[in-house]
Symmetry: C4
Subunit: 264 residues, 4 copies
C-alpha cells in the first residue's frame, strides 16, 4: 500500500489548528468542513492520494481527470482571537480497513510538520431516527479537553458514543501518540449514509465557529449543500458500484442500464 502527499505550496503557518471533514455518515463532517473552506476562501496547498482508495478517476469540468483524493487547505487568522487553520476535506476515506491507519498516520505526520498541536475531527453520529435539533457530542483524546469544550455546548457521554469508525476516530486516537490534542465533534444524524444531513453539519459548525472565533454565516449552508448534494450522491454511487464490480470480477465493467459512467 502506498499513500502520497503532493505539495502544491508551502504555507507559513503560526500555531495552526487542524480540522478534518471527510465523507462519512450523513456526510456531516464533509459538508461542514467543505463549507468552511468555501466561506473562508481557504487555499489548497496539498493533495493526498492512496492506493487504498478505489482505483477510479473522477471526470470534472469539461473532461478533466482527477484522482480520488483528500485535499489540504490553509487559512490565516485575520483578527485577534483567530488562529491559522489547516482544513482537510476529500472525496473518500480508505476502502480497505488497514488503509485507514496508513492514511491517518500520513495525515498526522504531515500536519505535525506545521507544528499542529490541536485538532478537530468532524463526523456524524448515527442515531437511527430523524432529529429536529441535532445535538453535538464530543470525544477527546485527553481529559482536559472535556472541560474546555463543555462550555461551547458539546455533550460528553460515552453511553451515547461507544465507538467511532474510520478517520475521525483514528486521527484523534493516533494523534495522542504525536502529542496533538484532539476532539471529535459528532452531530446527531439519522444515519442513512446516502442522505447528506446539512442540519447536523450546521450544528457541528455552530460549535466549531464559536470555539475558533470565526465569522461565518452558517445559514448559507443549506444552499451550498444543495449544490454539493448531487456531486456527493454521484460520488457515492460510483464508488459503491465500483466496489461491487471489484468484488464480482476481474475487469471493471460499466453497468449497462446507466449512461455516462463506467469505463474500463
Amino acid at each position: 500500500m502506498s499513500t502520497e502527499i503532493v505539495e502544491i505550496k508551502k504555507p507559513k503557518l503560526k500555531n495552526p489548528i487542524f480540522i478534518e471533514g471527510l465523507p462519512g455518515v450523513g456526510n456531516v463532517g464533509r459538508i461542514a468542513a467543505g463549507f468552511l473552506v468555501e466561506e473562508l476562501k481557504a487555499e489548497k496547498f496539498a493533495e493526498l492520494w492512496s492506493s487504498s482508495f478505489l482505483p477510479i478517476v473522477l471526470v470534472h469540468k469539461e473532461a478533466n481527470a482527477h484522482l480520488i483524493k483528500n485535499e489540504f487547505f490553509f487559512w490565516k487568522g485575520k483578527k485577534r482571537g483567530q488562529r491559522d487553520l489547516i482544513i482537510l476535506i476529500g472525496d473518500s476515506q480508505s476502502s480497505e480497513p488497514s488503509g485507514h491507519y496508513e492514511v491517518c498516520m500520513k495525515i498526522l505526520n504531515y500536519v505535525k510538520k506545521f507544528k499542529v498541536k490541536e485538532m478537530f475531527t468532524l463526523a456524524g453520529l448515527s442515531i437511527g431516527e430523524k432529529v429536529e435539533k441535532p445535538k453535538v457530542y464530543g470525544v477527546v483524546n485527553d481529559d482536559k479537553l472535556i472541560k474546555k469544550y463543555k462550555k461551547y455546548g458539546v455533550i460528553f457521554d460515552s453511553n451515547k458514543v461507544g465507538t467511532i469508525v474510520g478517520a475521525s476516530g483514528l486521527l484523534i486516537a493516533l494523534g495522542k501518540y504525536l502529542g496533538i490534542d484532539g476532539i471529535c465533534l459528532l452531530g446527531e444524524t439519522i444515519g442513512y449514509p446516502v442522505l447528506p444531513d446539512p442540519k447536523s453539519a450546521k450544528a457541528v459548525l455552530s460549535i466549531l465557529t464559536k470555539s475558533l472565533n470565526l465569522d461565518i454565516d452558517i445559514e448559507k449552508l443549506d444552499k451550498k449543500v444543495m449544490e454539493m448534494e448531487e456531486f456527493l450522491k454521484r460520488l457515492r454511487d460510483v464508488e459503491t458500484r465500483a466496489l461491487t464490480q471489484f468484488l464480482k470480477g476481474l475487469y471493471p465493467a460499466k453497468p449497462k442500464e446507466e449512461k455516462p459512467t463506467y469505463i474500463g
Copy 2:
C-alpha cells in the same frame, strides 16, 4: 500493513518471563491474563497498535478515545522463587490472517529486547460441550518443556489439540526461531466465542500461578469476570458489526447502543 509499539516507560527487568492473554475462544487467555495484571497490580509500560486491527476507536470513561490495542505490563518478583513478568493483554487480535504474523513478530522482537527466554501463552480449547472441571492442555515449542510442566498437571496430547489458531500458537512457534522456550496453556471450554469462560480461565491460572510461584487468590476471579463480561461482550459485538459494515459498503457508520466500559 504497519504495527507500532509505543513505549510509556522503560522498565529494568531481570530475566523476565513473558505471558500472553489476548481475546480468543471463551476469552480464556484474556480473562486469565487480565486478572493477573489486576491482582499483581502490574504496571503498563507499552502499547501496541496495528493497521491489521479494525479501524475503530473505543470510547471509554466520560468520552475518551482509545485505539484498539494490545498492552504490555510488567511486574517485578517480590520474593525468592518469583520471576519478573511481562504480561500482554489487549482488545483484539488481528482482523486479517497475515496480520497475525506481523503482530506476533513485533511482540516477540520487542520482548526479546528484555532478554525474555521463556513464555506462556494462554488460550481456550474448544470442546463443544459444557465441562464441570476443565482440564488444561499444553503445547510446547521444545520437547524438554513437556516433562517440566507435566508435574504441574498440564496434559500433553496431540490427539486432543491438533492445531492452534492465532496469536497463542504463532507466538510459541515463531518464538522458537528466536530462542524463546514457550508453552501454550489451553483450558477446556465449550467454545462459543460470545461466552467468556471464567472456569476455564481459573484452571489455566491455577497452573500458571503454581508454575510461577505467585500468591494470588484465584477465587476472586468470578467477581472480576462479571465486571469484564459486559465489556468483552460489547467489544465483540462492536467489532463484528464494524466488520460487517466494511464488507457491506464503503463508508463506516457509527454503531449505536454500544458502551464498552473499560476494565483493567
Copy 3:
C-alpha cells in the same frame, strides 16, 4: 505487494510518446495498441509483472510458461512529423484494487526515465447498446489538451464520461503529478466485457494515427481481431475461473480445456 520491470534492452529514444492499451471493457485499448505494435513492428524492450496479477502462468506455443505480464515496446519515428513511441500492452490489469495504483506508478516512473512528456491511454466507454459508428471521447489531465485534440474529432463531455476505472484513468491522473500530459481516448462500445469490439478499437486508432501522423492501414484490424479474439476470450475465462478458485478454496487447481495461443 511487489511489481518488477525486467529490461530486455535499453532503447535510445528521442522525446517519446507513451501509449497504453491494456485489457478492459470491450478490450478496446488492448486491441488498438496490440494492432499498433504489430503494424509498426515495434520491438519489445521490457516486461512488467506484479504480485497483484493472478498467480497463474499461461502456456504458449508448444509448452512454454509465461507469467501474466505487461509488455513495453518501442518504435522509432521514420519520417518528419513522426515521434518515437513507447507502447504498453499486456495480458491483464491488477486483480486487486490497490494493485492498480502500484502498477501504474511503476509504469509511469519507468517511462519517465525515457523523458516521456506526453501519453495516450486507450480504453472503451461502455454505453450499454450496439453502436454503428462509435464516437471517441477524451478525458485529459490538463485543460490545454482539450483544444489540441478537438481538432482530431475527439469529443469532450463529462456528462458522458463521469469516471474511468483502472489503468487508463489512473495513468493520466497520476501522470499529472509527474509532469506528463495525458489524454485518455475512449471508444464507445456496448460494454459486455467478454465481447472484444474491433469497431470501437478502429475508431480510437483512427484518431490516434492522425494525431501521431502514423501510416497504418486500419482496415486490416478486422482480420487481426479474429486472430486475437480467441486468445483474449480464453485468457478472460482462465482468469475468471482462477479467481473463482481462489475465492472458493485454498489450493489452486489447474483449469482444463484452455489453450490460449499467443498473438503479438
Copy 4:
C-alpha cells in the same frame, strides 16, 4: 506481507538441481517430492514461513507446535551421473493470491545462492476423470528443454495444459528471469483436491528419477502414501475450516461437532 527463511545449516552443494513439490491438485507434487526426501534420506537445512500462510500452528508428536511451513532438504549425489539436489516440500502454498509471488521469489532468490541453474517443479494436471495410466505433461521456461525431456517420455502439448496455477508454474516462469532453466512435470489426475493421487505421483517420479539417474524403488510409494494420506487430509481439513472461519468472523472458533481441533 513477510516471508522468512530460517537456515538450520549451510550445506556445500555442487551445481545442485532444485526440485519443488508443494501441496496442490491431487497432492501429486507433494507426494512425489516427499517420497524422494524419505527415500534419499535427504537432510533438512532450511525452513520458510510466510504471513501469507494461514495463521495456525500444527501440533505434531506429543504436543509440539509447528508453523505452517515449507522445508528445504539437500542430498548429495552418490555416484557418477548423479547431481546434488535441493528439494522443497511443505505444508501449504500461500493462502493469498499475491503471496504466491512473494513466496516464489523468496524461494528462487534463496536457491540461487547455491548456484542453482536447473529446476523441476512437480504438480498434478486435473483432467476430471479417473485414469489408469497417468501421462506426464511438461511445461518449460525455455524451448531447448522440450527436446531434452521428450526422450524421457514427457509429453509437451499446450492444448492439454493451458495454464498452471500457483507455485509450480510461477517458479519456472519467474525463474526464467533469474537464469534458471525450469520444467514443470504434471501428472494426470482426476483433480478432486481432497483425493491424494499416488498413481500420478508415481508417474511423475518415474520420469524424474530417470532424468536424475536416481536409484529409488518407486513401488514403495503406495505404502508411504497411506501413511501420508491421513496427515495430508487432516491438514487440508484444518486449513479449509480455518479459512472459512476467517471469512466469516473475527475470532477463530472451533467448529463444535469436532473434537480435537480448533483453538483460539
